[in-house]
């Protein structure tokens, strides 16, 4: 199997978008998914429960030094940046906000690209901020796969449109199309 990890960045409108994606995604999805959703510093990430219908997935907040495992879904904790180490474990930092955000999508995507190189899939969904654009550039530079939500179908079109304005994106698609793409390129769990 070619790809080893998926990173997803999502901002305003994210709750609905994640809900749709998690409903469509099969339960036995094979590779790890790491998500940055822009959230307030005092949030408690309760949105995870809201989008994880009937606890279908094993979704958790990423812990520092935690080993990234296949088939699991990780979410950046509020008020921390999430980075990936070469040992395929997580690091957390409280550096300055990037694009007004902490966690920032760029910070995750750029560090993930350094580790997974061409075996990474980057996905940018709805949002009203340019976070994620630099990260997608980095993923592209190393030969990873880049996917954005079709801005016409996004609650907030700015974030995916910002990526499209700066680089050629591999796939532009509505949410159901993105899920099919992900299933297609990663295949079911062996």
């Amino acid at each position: 199997m070619r790809y080893e990890a998926i990173v997803i960045g999502v901002s305003s409108g994210g709750l609905n978008a994640m809900k749709v994606m998690f409903t469509l995604l099969p339960k036995d999805f094979s590779i790890p998914i790491v998500i940055v959703q822009h959230i307030g510093p005092r949030s408690d990430n309760q949105w995870i429960k809201l989008v994880n219908d009937k606890n279908k997935f094993d979704i958790k907040e990423a812990d520092e030094k935690e080993k990234i495992e296949n088939g699991r879904i990780y979410v950046a904790p509020p008020n921390y940046h999430l980075l990936i180490e070469r040992s395929k474990t997580f690091s957390l930092t409280i550096d300055e906000r990037v694009n007004f955000a902490r966690p920032s999508i760029d910070v995750l995507f750029e560090s993930a690209a350094e580790v997974y190189r061409d075996k990474l899939i980057g996905v940018v969904l709805t949002g009203s901020n340019a976070d994620g654009t630099n990260g997608m550039k980095r993923i592209k530079k190393y030969g990873g796969l880049t996917i954005v939500q079709d801005p016409a179908t996004a609650e907030s079109s700015y974030m995916p449109a910002s990526v499209m304005a700066t680089m050629p994106v591999d796939h532009i698609s509505p949410l159901d199309g993105i899920v099919n793409l992900l299933i297609g390129v990663t295949g079911p769990k062996r």
């Binding site: 008020n79 690091s91 580790v115």
Partner: protein
Amino acid sequence: MQTHVRDIMDAIYKKYGYDFRQYSEAHITRRIMNRVRLSGLEDISYVRSEVMNNETFASQLLQDLSITVTEMFRDPGFYKSLRENVIPLLKTYPFIKIWHAGCSTGEEVYSVAILMQEEGLYGRTTIYATDFNQQALNKAKGGIFSNGLMKEYTTNYQLSGGKESFLNYYTSDYDHVIMNQSLKRNIVWANHNLVTDSVFAEAHLILCRNVLIYFETELQNKVQKIFFDSLINGGILCLGAKEGLRFSDLRDEYTELDKQHRIFKKKY
């Protein structure tokens, strides 16, 4: 660490004595790449010789590697728990020594001083506030902060169970606030490097929040040993919201006072 990064860390250590060789690589790499961009260097391969030959560059990079982002009453729930679960224990001592390690620009230290004052304990408390970043310590000592942040801090303070009006603790002009002298009186600021310096004091309470996240496991363990040796029996250790003793050799030497807010008590 990758060779370039490793070489840069070796150079910093040899020339300036700061040891970042066991800091998290993704973090270090990100900070170096930031500095490469800001200084207009072509790529990371030039950084080592800049570190060796250009002191301005080196001191900028050192500032980059010490992340001083902090807040007053960051994680209000933590301070609330401190009030409810730790203050009653501290009340039993005739004097109280607090070691605040990695205190950055002091926002957390003033938060703790305020809390101790409101609990009627500040008179018999000494706070040893340490960091290895002298620039940050100087700012902390001055106690002058941006007025623009006070709204957020006031919210944090109120959520943390604050008992007064937050305005009572500082004087402000348009841009800045200065913390009250009465809060500063029992704080001792000192330069201390957790990697290269040793045990600090017979502390009743140690706070070290959001510093260990930057360290690799082995270094975390080394620093945890320093904290353990610095605490009295029954002393309290407070870590950051995402830090714990899970990977520590010493985890069995503590009981959890508050699991969610990462407050631990050294066993007798």
